[in-house]
Each structure stands twice: as structure tokens, then as C-alpha cells.
Amino acid sequence: MSSTRSSITELAARLRAGKTTPQQLLAGAMAHQKRVEPQLHAYLTSTTELAEQQAEAAALTLAEHPDSASPLCGIPMALKDVLCVQGVETTASSKVLTGFRPPYTATAVQRLFDAGAVCVGKTNCDEFAMGSSNENSAFGAAGNPWDVERVPGGSSGGSAATVGAGVVPYALGTDTGGSIRQPASLCGVVGFKPTYGRVSRYGLIAFASSLDQIGPLALSVEDCALVFAVIAGHDPRDSTSDPSPVEDPQPALGRGVDGLRLGVPREYFGAGIDAGVRGCVEDALHVLEAQGARLREVSLPSTEVALSTYYIIAPAECSSNLARYDGVRFGLREEQPSLTDMYLRTRAAGFGDEVKRRVMLGTYALSSGYYDAYYRQAQKVRTLIAAEFASVFESVDALVSPTSPTVAFTMGERDDPLSMYMCDVVTLPANLAGLPGISVPCGFIDSLPVGLQVLAPRFQDARVFQVANAYQRATDWHATRSPLADAAA
């Protein structure tokens, strides 16, 4: 029997019942990957050898300690190509990192490996996680499993696509302005962005350090919670990871929303949100209301300036974070007679247009004479946005909204950067404030998935799972299979 679109929980039970083995799960994932990959292009690198070793080790662990083994033990998974794995080529979908094999493994990834995860490969994404469609990958965009002519979203598009296509039950992505939630929405899967500081960023190739956060994309809210519980927690190698203990998300999953106060931000349903998407999300709100949640309209007036704030802070950090790709020590080098020319040619050849655009924007925003008008001002607005969320959370327990203004659009449709930036208009405020957020499937428009976003106060990651799971238990949108998940053997 095929393992496509079986959840982690189901597969873990079958492994323990002796109905399958990690090696069989891996073989199933690889076979399905082979079937769909020519259309999907979700992977940049296959890690077959690593996966085989991990499957073998997982089989031993399950044989010896079936009860104490992690639910993730022996389950195939994939990693966005911005996450370092020792000895495995890691490119961040950029030519500038061609051939780079890090001598270390990201902390979040290592925690999954220690739990027995089986890594089938590194997934496609927008270059350095900058983009909302995957079209900024230097190696060609991944497709959407519901319609391969359409984008999977971004930047964690490959991770969302491979989960949506049923190749692996979960994958890790990263979310700087919506890069987990938006592709999850477009590919009909669940995508969770933890509170900033909850998951170590060590070994994550940085885009914008104060906004980046690693999180899971999976087939269900429970599965996201399982993965989150393994990767979360303080890491001495990341000083921005929080030392406070992580609340176990499991109890929250069954708590329901009876009596919970859910805020509906007026601005997140405004102009730019597709009428069909709004309709699906409003239906979802009624489902939550029927579960006993009390809905309340709230206002986040700074939303209209969040996008500009984000597009100053993120490029500013990016311009500095990407300075190390200079051709001196690793990755691409364009040999030139002078040092300056080597720098210029290497970076001109190594970076794509969107990366160059953001490096330029960020350099400008930090320049002497412009810093006060741009970067400092943006930091002040960022503080205001966080304060506005905090104030709203005094009267509501969580916020609910659409994840993406539209369903998946066709490749090449959005050819100007500003319309692309609008994709993240309801996701990026959460990054500016460091909030946890999730996207769960909540309907379809013309056979294309729509996502419901849930946000909660900082460090209340469990609250996000609570609301999302209450919704998921009352609906079956998340169980609908994409055409590629059904691709026959």
C-alpha cells in the first residue's frame, strides 16, 4: 500500500504494528518522488544515501525501543535548502553557493535526526528565501501539486509542494514574512511558524536574522505539533533562542475553542483580499463559532504600514547577511585581476535579480544620511506594530484571518515586485511582532486550496495549535488529496 498522504501519526502506528518498516516507507517516498518530480521540481538535492542510513538506524531503534522511540522515528521528511546538513550540498537556491557543503548540521535538523527522521532531500525555494512564488529559485521554480502550471507559493514552495504531493508527510521550511504559511495555504497543507526565538536558527542560512524562524509544513495540525515539540527549545549556539521551557503542545490539541475569544482583524479582510478567499475564511469563522468560540472584530491600524516597514528591515539585514558571499572562501568565484572586480563579478553572477534588488534596498536604507529616515523609522514602527498586537491580545485569545490574499496564481503572472510583495500582506505583521502563526486548509476555489491563518501572542504556540486543531477536527479540507498525491504507481 502506498504511503502517500498518510500522516506522521498514522505512519508511526503502522511502524509499531509491524505493518511497514522505515526502509519500506523510504522506498515508497522515493518511488512517489520519482513519479511526480518531473512535473513538480520540488527538490534540488536527493540525499538517498543519508536517507538509507537513517532508515536502517531507525529500524534498529524501533525494534529495540518501540515505546520510547520518537513518533518521528523512521518517517521520511525533507528540508528546505536553506538548512545546513553536514556534508550535503546546501545552496539556498542560489548560484553563489553552488558546491557549498557545510561542515555542520542545523540544530533544528539535528534534533529531528536524533529523533530518527529520514531525510530524503533538500527542497527548492526562492533564492535565499526571498520571494512568494518560488520563481526566484536560481534552479527553476517548483510547481503546485494542485496545478503544476501554478506557483506553490514561497519561499518554502518546494517543502509545501512535496508535502502536498504526498511524497513526505512533513518538511521543514522557514518563515521570514510568511514563507511557511503562504505556500502551505497555496498547496493545501498545514504550515506553522513558531514564536521568534522558539526554534534555534543555528545552521539556517540567514535572510533577515530578526525575522527568520524555522517551522514545519505537514498534513495536519497534530503533525505540525509533533515536529514542533522536537525542534523547539533553547540552543546555546543561538543567543536569540529563548531559554524558557517549551510548553508541550499536545494537551492543547484536544482543548477545543469553547469560550475562546477570537479576534477578526478588520484590516486583514480589506482591499486586496480576493472575494472567494474572504468567503471561504468567513465560512471557517462560522465553523469556529459553532464550536463555541466568541468572534470579535478588532482593528490593527498599523497593518497598512507593515509592508513598507518589513521591506526596509528585511532588506537591511539581508544586505549585511549576504555580504559574506564574496567569492573569497567558498561557493562561486569569478576570477578577476583585481579584488574589487572579483567581488563585483562574483556577486553579479551569483545573485538573482530579487536578491540584488533587496541588497540594494537594504544598503540604501542603512546608508549614512538615510538611516534615520528609513531604518530607524522602520524600527520604531515595528515597535508600534508589536505594541498594537499586544494591546489587541488583551481582549482576544487569538486572531483569525486569511493566510494569502489569493489562491495560487500561474507562473509568470506577477511580474512586478510590488504585486508579489502583496502576497505577504497578512502574514508578515506576525514576523515583525515575533508571533506564532499557522495556516490550515479551509476550502477551495476552482480546485485550488485556501488557507485560514491563526495568530497568537508570543510564546503561546500551543494556543495556535489549539484553535487550528479545533477547526481541523470539524472539517476535512486538510484530508483532500491533490491530483499529484493520487498519481498512480
Binding site: 539556498a92 557545510p102 561542515p103 543555528y202 536574522s209 572562501r329 567558498f330 579584488l339 538611516y371
Partner: protein, 474 residues
């Protein structure tokens, strides 16, 4: 200076007043680097061996602040009478250069670890002082080796990142200095202080203690500053003094000739005894400083600062001066700076406290200590023997050489004499010998101890070590 130069310079100084401020970069004597676990002692390793993903600036890795470096910088700031704000943060200073692997240096910009201090010293016997603008922390860069004179004309350049990430403290002085001599005294005193409090080894030649100078001239009586020139590449106290004297005369000549000075950076060229223009203001970098997002701000509470204050040796000016003088005397007499500092701050300070008698008034005296240390340096006695003698000489005085001779304390560095003790140590410790042969390095210590005991602590430890290894390898 020649006499004519001196006369010319005093004539100049009657008309113009130099305004000088010094910036010192001092490497901290921490065990590890500023933001990673690599050794801060980078000199012994082969090129690029003393590195890790963090100091190499590889993608995805993150800095972690070295607590000891914070303590050392706070200790320095306290010794310089600085204020320590309760909130400080790190910033990124962005520029491209091959010795800077991340493309930015983690430094401190608008909220440094300390500010508003003062250094007291003497110029020609008169008390003087200079304001300290700030003391902040940053990371050192790597080093470049050019096949050619400078990077621009080099046919190739090699990058060594062993030094990259070594904790570096920047001490910015106020433009309070009014002569090359005052600048020289300030620098001598600052170096003494840093070495004395154990945060820096004070080596200008090797670059663990570096100085840049800002100098401008203004007519006597003027209150505004003139056009400022920054001077770099001064690798000794003498170079600092010569460069400032040269620059002072150069600037006066330009002004007297009716010319205008340009704000620029000039390098001291030792061989030509000149400063040479390196970079004018138009080409000044825009470093695009912004807060380092990978490091949360630091809150240095009063309790922490008090704890650091308690580690500071007693620093009243008079006492510090005496220590500094002793240190200077030892170093001038050829004792290695690190050895002098270790003895002064360790055993000598303990004896001074115990007997409430400072070194210069003790039976030993600075000269006595120098002679004792000379015996260690030449290998006549080993360090444990010297420590024993130190206590006795400190109280009762006496001639170290005579005591060593009379009591037969000279260390045994004759292999034939030691052979018996070596064999006996191995025979008496069969377990240790077996452990060592099985690869347990520390097992050697037990046998070394046996030999030392058997020889009344007179054996030369390095020799014992080597001989034991040779025997056991057979």
C-alpha cells in the same frame, strides 16, 4: 630629536597648539575568541588552523558572546574610571575586505559598554590626565599576506583567519593631549595599566596593543579645532612619538605656507620617517552601522559590575604607579612582559598584601626580583624553587645567587643525574606507566611528580617530561 629640530619645534609650539587624541586597540587575554570557542592565542597555529565555522563566517552560523571578554572590558573600564551603562548592545560595521569573512565586523556603535573615563599619568614629573571617551568591544580581523607591497599591486594575496574573532577592546581617548610627549606618556601608562590588570600583554610590535592617533593644529588661544589627520601604522612607542612630531611639523609648515590641510588618513613609514597620505575624507567608508540582530542587547546589572570590581587589583594611583614602575623596571632589564606581569600580579602581590609591605620597600626590591627571575630565565633554578626563595627574600632580603649556590638548589638538568630517578619513578608507578603506554596522557603527571619529589623539586620539569616519554616509548 636633534637640537636644531628641538629648537625649531619649540618655536613652532609658541605659535601653534597641537590637539591630539589616541585610539588604542588592545587584544584581550581571554582563552577563547570573542564569539566562538577557538583559542584567542592564534600565533602558534598553522595558517587558518585556529578557525571554526563561526569565525570563518560560514553561512548559517551564529555568534555567542564571550563572557570573559565582557568581564575584561568592564575591568578595564572601571580601571579607567568609566561609567558602565546598564544597557549595551553590539552593532554591525559593514565593509568588504578579504580579512573580514562575514563582510561586517561585530562592534559597538551608539551604546558602548562604557563611557566618560579618565587616565591619569605624569608628563615630566607633572600630574596630567586625559579623558576617555569610551571603551568598547569588537572582534579582530584576519591577516593578509601579499605577494607584493600592498594589496592593490599584489600578484596574489593569502588570507589567514587565525586572528579573526580575537576579542579586541577599543579605547578611545579624548583630544586632551597637547604634545607628542604627553601622547607618549599617556600610551605608556595605558599599556602598563592594561598589563597590570591582566587583560592585555602590551605588545606593540606583535600588534596585540595598537595605536592610531588623531592630530590637528590650532593657533595658540583658539578654541576651535583645526583640520584633523589620522595617523596609522605606528608599531612602537618611539614610532608614535616620531610620527606625531613629524606630523606636527608638517601641518605647521602647510599652515605657515598659507596652505590648507585636508582631512585624511596618513600612514607612518618607519624607513622614511614620514607620514604618507593613504585615504582622504571623500573616500571615507560608510560603514552602515546597525544593531547586530544575532545578539540580544546586554544588561550589565550593578551586581555584575561589583563582582568585576572585586577582581580588580587595588588601583589607587600611587600604588598602581609603583606597580607600574616595578613592571617597567623589570621589562627594561629584559624580563619578558608576560613573566613580569605574572610574578607581580601573582606571588609578589600576594606577599605585598600578606606583609603589608610593597615590593620596593621589601627585602627583595625590584632589583632583587629581577635577579631572581634571571635565574629562572637562564634555567639555573626552576619556577617552584624560585617561588620558595621569593617568600624568604621578600621578608629577609639576601642574595638569590648565593642562596642557590649554598643550598644546592640549582635545578638538575643533567640527564645522567636524573636517569636513576626516572627509572625509579617508572618502577614505583607501574599502573601509571601502563596507562600512559595505553594512551592516557595525564598518567605521565604522576611519574613527573615522583621524580620532582625525589629530586627535592630541583629537576627541570621539561627535561623530566621528555626523559619519561623516551623511556616509556621503548
Amino acid at each position: 630629536m636633534t637640537q636644531t629640530a628641538e629648537a625649531a619645534s619649540s618655536a613652532v609650539l609658541a605659535r601653534y597648539e597641537p590637539v591630539i587624541g589616541l585610539e588604542v586597540h588592545a587584544q584581550l587575554l581571554t582563552r577563547s575568541k570573542m564569539f566562538c570557542g577557538c583559542s584567542a592565542d592564534y600565533t602558534a597555529a598553522a595558517p587558518n588552523d585556529n578557525t571554526c565555522p563561526v569565525c570563518l563566517g560560514l553561512p548559517g552560523v551564529l555568534p555567542v558572546i564571550n563572557r570573559q571578554a565582557i568581564e575584561y572590558a568592564v575591568r578595564t573600564a572601571l580601571a579607567l574610571e568609566c561609567e558602565i551603562p546598564s544597557f549595551t548592545k553590539f552593532d554591525r560595521k559593514n565593509y568588504f575586505y578579504p580579512d573580514l569573512p562575514k563582510g561586517y565586523q561585530i562592534s559597538q556603535y551608539d551604546l558602548p559598554l562604557s563611557l566618560n573615563g579618565r587616565l591619569r599619568f605624569e608628563v615630566e614629573g607633572e600630574p596630567a590626565s586625559c579623558g576617555i571617551t569610551r571603551v568598547h568591544l569588537e572582534e579582530d580581523t584576519g591577516t593578509l599576506h601579499h605577494a607584493g607591497d600592498v594589496l592593490q599591486s599584489a600578484t596574489s594575496s593569502l588570507v589567514d583567519l587565525n586572528r579573526c574573532g580575537v576579542p579586541l577592546m577599543e579605547i578611545v581617548g579624548e583630544p586632551d593631549l597637547r604634545s607628542a610627549a604627553a601622547a607618549h606618556e599617556y600610551l605608556v601608562r595605558l599599556r602598563q595599566l592594561l598589563v597590570y590588570i591582566g587583560v592585555n600583554d602590551g605588545n606593540l610590535e606583535k600588534g596585540s596593543f595598537r595605536c592610531d592617533a588623531n592630530i590637528s593644529m590650532r593657533p595658540r588661544g583658539a578654541s576651535e579645532y583645526g583640520v584633523k589627520v589620522e595617523i596609522k601604522n605606528m608599531n612602537s612607542f618611539r614610532a608614535v612619538r616620531l610620527a606625531l612630531e613629524y606630523e606636527l611639523e608638517r601641518q605647521v609648515a602647510v599652515l605657515d605656507g598659507g596652505g590648507a590641510l585636508t582631512q585624511e588618513t596618513r600612514g607612518w613609514v618607519e624607513a622614511r620617517r614620514q607620514t604618507v597620505s593613504q585615504r582622504s575624507k571623500e573616500y571615507a567608508h560608510d560603514y552602515r552601522y546597525f544593531p547586530e540582530p544575532d545578539l540580544p542587547p546586554l544588561r550589565l546589572d550593578a551586581e555584575f559590575v561589583d563582582r568585576v570590581r572585586a577582581t580588580l587589583p587595588e588601583l589607587p594611583a600611587a600604588r598602581a604607579m609603583r606597580f607600574a614602575d616595578a613592571f617597567e623596571g623589570l621589562v627594561d632589564a629584559g624580563v619578558a612582559a608576560k613573566t613580569a606581569a605574572n610574578w607581580l600580579m601573582g606571588d609578589v602581590a600576594a606577599l605585598a598584601n600578606e606583609h603589608k609591605v610593597p615590593l620596593h620597600a621589601s627585602g627583595l626590591g625590584v632589583e632583587g626580583l629581577r635577579r631572581l627571575l634571571a635565574l629562572v630565565e637562564t634555567g639555573t633554578i626552576n619556577a617552584p624553587t624560585a617561588k620558595e626563595l621569593l617568600g624568604e627574600l621578600y621578608v629577609s632580603g639576601g642574595d638569590a645567587e648565593a642562596l642557590v649556590r649554598d643550598r644546592g638548589l640549582a635545578q638538575v638538568s643533567d640527564e645522567a643525574q636524573l636517569a636513576e630517578a626516572i627509572d625509579a619513578a617508572i618502577a614505583a608507578n607501574p599502573d601509571a606507566a601502563a596507562d600512559f603506554r595505553a594512551g592516557l596522557e595525564k598518567a605521565l603527571g604522576r611519574m613527573v611528580g615522583h621524580v620532582m619529589k625525589a629530586t627535592g623539586n630541583k629537576a627541570q620539569p621539561q627535561l623530566v617530561n621528555r626523559m619519561l616519554r623516551e623511556r616509556l616509548a621503548r
